[in-house]
């Protein structure tokens, strides 16, 4: 763990060397989801509500997903950029070091410019919570924290899975975008608005539903239920990460260096 923080520290310092570029990129990262949010706002301005969900309820969902996405992009970026490590054969170096591969890949890259995106989603989160008085209680705050935490776990799991495929394909596969970018676009709205098969897939296979829709029902008092389920359901995200790590292990064992 201390190794991880050392990696974090070094990367932060190296990225802050180029201050202007860092700042510009962060601002840009602030504006990308801002446009998406603008679209959401204008849609609500025109239609008033979304199948019984009010504007602030949806923005809460939006904020949770974007918060988890930006956090995992910041900290698990190493897996996202993993294909270059395999293609160049640099992964060999990681293997000979006496530390776990996961920590090393995780530490190989951090994307701190995502702070812009993070800031944007935090603002949205605060704004929507301020307008949803039913969320103001201690167990619900904890649930909210679990939602974000497990959201990060899911995105990280997807990054790891996509990276694992690189062991076989060498190249990065664009199809993984369906689950990262696509998952983000989709999960920023409550899952009920989609067709049944989509909802099922993203609840039981890739458990976005566990970090947004199901706990949201509890947060917003839409469904009678004890706080226990509301708090436990988000851990589906953690449950998703475990098999991903397992697959990663198998992948590492199958790794054959490109030798260049």
């Amino acid at each position: 763990m201390s190794l991880y923080f050392r990696y974090l520290n070094i990367q932060l310092k190296s990225q802050l060397q180029y201050r202007a570029s860092f700042l510009l990129l962060s601002i840009g990262q602030f504006f990308i989801p801002f446009m998406v949010f603008g679209g959401l706002y204008f849609m609500f301005e025109r239609f008033g509500q979304l199948e019984g969900w009010s504007f602030f309820e949806v923005t809460l969902c939006f904020a949770v997903i974007h918060l988890s996405f930006s956090l995992s992009e910041c900290f698990a970026r190493g897996f996202d950029a993993f294909s270059s490590l395999v293609a160049s054969g640099d992964f060999d170096r990681l293997l000979v070091r006496p530390r776990g591969t996961v920590v090393q890949v995780l530490g190989s890259k951090f994307e701190f410019t995502r702070i812009g995106r993070l800031l944007q989603s935090t603002i949205v989160l605060i704004w929507s919570i301020a307008n949803l008085p039913q969320v103001w209680s201690f167990p619900k705050a904890i649930t909210l924290f679990f939602m974000v935490f497990n959201g990060v776990m899911i995105f990280t799991g997807i990054f790891i899975l996509a990276a694992t495929f690189c062991f076989w394909t060498i190249q990065a596969i664009e199809i993984a975008n369906v689950f990262t970018d696509g998952g983000r676009e989709m999960a920023q709205y409550p899952l009920t608005i989609y067709e049944k098969w989509v909802t099922r897939f993203f609840t039981f296979i890739v458990p976005f539903g566990c970090v947004t829709y199901l706990p949201l029902m509890y947060l917003l008092d839409k469904e009678e239920g004890s706080w226990v389920t509301g708090m436990l359901v988000p851990f589906g995200g953690l449950l998703f990460l475990l098999p991903c790590l397992l697959v990663w292990r198998i992948g590492v064992r199958h790794y054959r260096s490109t030798g260049s």
């Binding site: 204008f42 239609f47 979304l50 199948e51």
Partner: protein, 268 residues
């Protein structure tokens, strides 16, 4: 002219090489199309507000056309080679070539977009046409609408290249493409109706988009296709497209001349 055509052909063949990537890209685009349509459809289902401004069927067509012609008309597609050329100093070689730099880059960018689109658009179009109601793409109401659509789409393509040329030229001054590129493409994408369709925007924002060139690259051709913009208006719109292209190309060429007059070739 022959030189430009052969550059065009070279880039085109080059772009056609990446077939596996195209396949993965198509799956991604189909998925995104589905998600967007489901979101919009949910908004329409919840009623309220006034949805008469833009019928759902037109909107679905709009979303699919966006996905089909994504690489043709998206502003953020960029050629990192050109950026690298300016910052690394290889621009010197480009200047030695016996042809104008503006038309040279222009044809290069044009070819790139067309190659990317040709590979992807036919399979996606077929799939999307065969989709069951209500997700399928509907045919244009008349042959004239289709013809006008093709013309306006091609003009939109030229227009988007003209806009992106300005970004490339700006690198001569800024040296770093990321900042200006990101800002313009994010704002441009929104104003082109790629996040939410222009007819669904509030009145005041629509007025802004009408005054800017971005909307003529995507929003206009797609609405001509579905017949949401009547033919009379479409003809006027095509005229406006011509006007923007002429203005932006002239501005770009002037800017390029100015940039090249005091270009600093980066060493290395």
């Amino acid at each position: 002219m022959r030189a430009y055509v052969s550059i065009w052909r070279l880039r085109f063949i080059n772009g056609m090489q990446y077939r596996a990537a195209a396949l993965a890209g198509m799956a991604t685009q189909l998925f995104f199309g589905f998600v967007f349509i489901m979101i919009f459809a949910a908004f329409y289902r919840s009623g309220g507000g006034d949805s008469t401004a833009f019928p759902l069927q037109d909107l679905i067509t709009y979303v699919w056309l966006q996905q089909i012609f994504l690489s043709l008309i998206m502003l953020w597609i960029r050629d990192n080679e050109i950026f690298a050329m300016v910052t690394s100093g290889n621009i010197a070689y480009e200047l030695c070539r016996p042809m104008g730099l503006y038309p040279f880059w222009f044809s290069k960018l044009l070819a790139q977009r067309v190659a990317g689109a040709v590979l992807r658009c036919f399979p996606i179009t077929t799939v999307v046409f065969l989709l069951p109601e209500p997700y399928g793409l509907s045919a244009p109401p008349s042959w004239t609408a289709l013809l006008l659509f093709v013309v306006s789409l091609l003009l939109g393509l030229i227009l988007v290249v003209a806009i992106s040329m300005l970004i490339y030229i700006s690198v001569f001054w800024t040296m770093s493409p990321t900042g200006s590129m990101l800002m313009i493409s994010v704002a441009g994408e929104f104003l082109a109706g790629m996040v939410i369709p222009v007819p669904l925007m509030p009145e005041w924002l629509q007025r802004i988009t009408y005054a800017l060139p971005f909307r003529w690259t995507t929003d206009f051709p797609f609405r001509v296709y579905s017949g949401h913009i009547p033919q009379q208006e479409a003809l006027i719109g095509i005229g406006v497209q011509f006007g923007w292209i002429a203005a932006l190309a002239a501005f770009g060429m002037w800017l390029m001349r100015k940039a090249l007059r005091n270009v600093v070739v980066q060493g290395g």
